[in-house]
């Protein structure tokens, strides 16, 4: 579903190479996790895939179900089925959460040549999905992420994911800033979306999120490359021994 080949990325403003040849394939129905030390390039990978400014792709490709992601505008990538749950969801004063969700959903449907969802159907769906994520009516009415706690912001990301029903979900350090209960709620939300037609790329620094969202494949990323790939046991190895051992083993 998502195929990344030999991806090389540098910062646009300075001569700093961040990704140095990333190869990664995420199949439909699978959950892939990417772990790695700070500065490995994990978040950069998520930003480059979703189309954020500030990066320059110097080589390689990224294709989602036939769509060349790197050539597409961010909104085209979204319409093609890509979703990034932000590490730091953005606050947008003055734009109501509901308006935001509805605008996004209908924009994607329109881009795919589908009918817009009626106000009534939308409301029904958003309420049901919000309820399972313990997002109350007040949070839906408030401006996007404004005054939300860390946990509320992350739940709001998952609500967007649930509403937009993307093919390929990237979760960028979704566990950061969450306590155990909030993490469980977020993980339950993600697990509810696991589906044979949907792929996940879960970027995390720690293993604990992967206790709740069980990955099929775990990749270790360091210095702009995937240096090791394995099963869920790889995450446990990191948890027990840290990254140092694995990186030493790779270097050797």
């Amino acid at each position: 579903m998502l195929e990344i080949k030999n991806l090389h990325v540098k910062l646009e403003e300075e001569e700093k190479q961040i990704l140095k040849g990333v190869d990664l394939t995420v199949e439909a129905g699978k959950v892939h996790a990417i772990m790695g030390p700070n500065g490995a390039g994990k978040s950069t990978l998520s930003y480059v895939l979703s189309g954020r400014d500030g990066y320059e792709v110097t080589d390689g490709e990224a294709v989602l179900d036939g769509t060349d992601l790197l050539e597409a505008e961010p909104e085209e990538r979204a319409a093609a089925g890509l979703f990034l749950a932000f590490q730091y969801p953005v606050e947008i004063p003055g734009v109501g959460n509901m308006t935001f969700l509805r605008t996004a959903l209908n924009a994607q449907r329109k881009a795919r040549g589908e009918e817009e969802l009626s106000a009534g159907d939308f409301l029904k769906e958003v309420r049901a999905k919000a309820k399972s994520l313990k997002i109350d009516a007040d949070m839906l009415k408030r401006p996007v992420n404004v005054g939300f706690s860390g946990g509320e912001k992350k739940r709001n990301e998952i609500l967007q994911m649930a509403m937009l029903e993307p093919k390929m979900c990237i979760l960028d350090e979704t566990d950061s800033g969450l306590d155990v209960d909030a993490m469980k709620l977020v993980a339950d939300g993600v697990n509810a979306l696991r589906d044979a037609g949907r792929g996940f790329l879960v970027i995390t620094h720690y293993q604990r999120l992967l206790d709740h969202i069980k990955p099929d494949v775990v990749h270790i990323m360091a210095d702009g490359r995937i240096v090791k790939t394995g099963g869920p046991e790889l995450a446990l190895e990191v948890e027990n021994n840290g990254y140092a051992d694995i990186l030493a083993e790779v270097d050797a």
Binding site: R52, P89, I92, G94, F100, A104, A107
Partner: protein, 426 residues
């Protein structure tokens, strides 16, 4: 003291084109205003108060014609239940207007009133304008008092069931209109005044508003979107104890607009809110000049102005809060912000506080910025196109000002106008 030669000749030239209506009960006020104009002279670019806005086309004897703009968009406040008072190029149109009788209010044309001697009117016409000439001169308002050929006197004695709505139609590319309205709100009375329309090629509008103790006036303006029209408006408001004045002005296009609001808080515990949103594209110059004087205890004033500018449009904000000695517990707030949608547009702001009381809370802020790139990317990453996301963020920026409007239906109509403007410019 003699005026500078340039100012003198420009003033003489302009005054030479105008005729002062003689004989009515307002005649004394008109002549007093004329001598004020002659003493002050009309503004030139050298005047400090006109540093950011060129006054020449508002002042010159020669009029710059303004093409009449036609649109299939329904007029503002269409469908609202209201008392319609229609002016066409600055002349009252009785046929197009409603019957002016309404419970709780007396509405009279200035011309009809001048034939009588109505106390509250002679006590108000030109009076607040004259008071508003210090400490800053406003010669265009004095010119208006002297020469206004038409206008409406509104006496609010109760709580009329619907808003009073001034509709200013512009049908003549060469119309040069001067209107002067006076509004007296009695103790405990309450009303809403709406104004909309481009009015004329050049429009000089003055409204003097005297709100007695416990009175309330809501004032919402939507300045017409004829691209080439020019307007200089002044609203002078005096507030009694526990009275309230809330004003909002929407400006969509118009090559030149100068809106001056002069508010005197004279009674304790009074509230004055003035807000405005403007959107301008290209040949657009919009100036909000506000002067609020606190001269009583516990006064609250609030200024919220937002401007969206693109393709070389210019926004100006000059806002002052003056707290006089003894006006303790004053709560004054002022914010002016611009959203610049490109590098060609500019926002010029001069926020001022002058405080002579020691127990007050006053703040002011002014910002100028572009669309938030983080928010834009966030929206786009959810599938919203760059242009739609920009519109959404632009409306969000303006929302803080529109939120100042208490009436939900009016606020919604204002937002619709802004959405229409954005959609037409995609």
């Amino acid at each position: 003291m003699a005026l500078p030669e340039m100012k003198q000749s420009a003033t003489d030239a302009r005054l030479g084109t105008l005729t002062l209506p003689e004989g009515g009960c307002l005649s004394t006020a008109r002549h007093a205003a004329l001598s004020r104009v002659q003493t002050m002279g009309l503004p030139t670019r050298r005047d400090e108060y006109w540093k950011y806005t060129r006054p020449d086309t508002l002042v010159n004897a020669e009029l710059v014609a303004a093409e009449v703009f036609t649109s299939d968009e329904a007029p503002m406040f269409d469908g609202f239940d209201r008392l319609k008072i229609v002016f066409v190029d600055g002349v009252f149109d009785a046929d197009a207007s409603d019957d002016l009788s309404l419970e709780g209010i007396t509405v009279e044309r200035l011309i009809d009133l001048e034939a009588k001697d109505i106390h509250w009117a002679t006590d108000l016409y030109g009076v607040l304008e004259a008071r508003g000439q210090t400490p800053v001169e406003r010669p265009l308002a004095a010119l208006n008092t002297a020469f206004a050929a038409d206008g409406i006197a509104i006496h609010v004695t109760g709580k009329p069931s619907k808003p009073i709505s001034f509709i200013y139609k512009h049908l003549d590319a060469n119309s040069d209109s001067i209107l002067h309205h006076i509004v007296r709100v009695d103790t405990g009375a309450e009303a809403t005044i709406l104004e909309n329309g481009p009015a004329a090629a050049r429009f000089n509008n003055v409204m003097e508003i005297d709100v007695a103790d416990g009175g309330k006036l809501h004032h919402v303006r939507a300045q017409g979107r004829d691209h080439e029209r020019r307007a200089a408006t002044h609203v002078f408001t005096r507030l009694g104890a526990e009275s309230v004045y809330k004003s909002f002005t929407l400006t969509v296009n118009g090559v030149l607009t100068r809106n001056e609001q002069v508010i005197e808080i004279n009674g304790d515990d009074a509230i004055a809110h003035v807000a405005g949103a403007c959107v301008g594209d290209g040949e657009f110059h919009h100036d909000d000049t506000v002067f609020i004087t606190h001269d009583a205890l516990n006064g609250e004033s609030r200024q919220v102005f937002k401007k969206v500018l693109r393709n070389g449009a210019t926004g100006v904000f000059q806002g002052k809060i003056l707290v006089k000695e003894g006006a303790q517990k004053t709560d004054g707030y002022q914010i002016s912000q611009s959203l610049l949608l490109d590098d060609d547009s500019q926002f010029l702001a001069k926020p001022e506080l002058e405080i002579y009381a020691d127990d007050v809370a006053c703040s002011h802020g002014s910002t100028s910025g572009a669309i938030d790139e983080e928010a834009l990317f966030y929206l786009r990453s959810r599938g919203v196109s760059a242009s739609e996301a920009t519109d959404l963020l632009t409306l969000a920026f303006l929302a803080e000002a529109v939120d100042e409007v208490e009436d939900d239906a009016i606020a919604e109509a204002l937002v619709n106008r802004l959405e229409g403007w954005l959609a037409r410019r995609r």
